[in-house]
Symmetry: C2
Subunit: 157 residues, 2 copies
């Protein structure tokens, strides 16, 4: 019952992973929800505040980056694949300031790419996939948007 294919175990592993990296732990992210190809993270404003009393842009991009990373990690864990996952490039737009606790929603950019991810990794040992993240406001708007390309490489061992 401690295989990463169990979703609770995979979520615990992801939270432990975040907590184990000092610059990520400093952001205080929590996995809030994972379902239907979406991963939501939350993080307290107090740990991520800038001089203007709103969320620091670097925190938003970091959280959007690890949200998308975490979604790939969870999908691969569920398929029983252990891989090293790297972010290769990203693009961010800052649209509105965030004066509240941060909520990030990460998902796949392309359903077809997502559907082939596990197959490609099993056949080729390596895959590239594009994800998107948004920083969501309680009122319903989007504060920042992110698109990033990730590379996963199956671990031999």
């Amino acid at each position: 019952m401690d295989a990463l294919t169990d979703s609770g175990v995979a979520l615990d592993a992801l939270n432990a992973h975040f907590a184990g990296m000092p610059p990520v732990a400093a952001l205080q992210p929590t996995v809030a929800d994972w379902r239907d190809g979406h991963l939501q993270l939350s993080a307290p404003l107090a740990a991520n505040i800038n001089d203007k009393g709103c969320a620091f842009g670097g925190s938003l991009v970091s959280l959007m980056t690890i949200g998308a990373w975490g979604l790939v990690f969870l999908e691969l864990a569920q398929a029983g694949i252990e891989a090293d996952i790297f972010v290769a490039d990203s693009r961010v737009r800052y649209l509105k300031p965030v004066f509240e606790d941060i909520v990030i929603d990460a998902t796949f950019d392309d359903a077809g790419e997502r559907a082939q991810l596990v197959d490609t990794l099993r056949k080729q040992g390596r895959a590239s996939i594009r994800l998107k993240s948004e920083s969501l406001l309680a009122e319903g708007g989007v504060a920042a948007s992110f698109v990033g390309r990730y590379v996963a490489i199956v671990r031999n061992g």
Copy 2:
């Protein structure tokens, strides 16, 4: 002698600014050099390490973002202009892992835009400017590159 137009005072103000924001302070950035339109920041690997023993991508993008932000802050301080400076968008490429202390070099993307920045702010109260940052390796290579657009708005008061 405590006007921000004094470069030592402006650098102290920038370091204090970084130290005053929790998510930035966590990265432990230090202003290493500022000359000829370049700002260099350094940050210890230990505060920015990921699970693979190299620098966390979110730390690199945060440091490249604040390096470019800091350069605009310093140039405007030198011209006696107090402005709010926001990052509007950015694009990052991760090229190589960083297994050493992080060094960031930020500069203006366009010499003409830089030359007009102060004039535009004095006339219009608002300006948009593009900057670029690189994460430099001790061996001479580039680990990550960043291009970002910043908006400065003169403070009234």
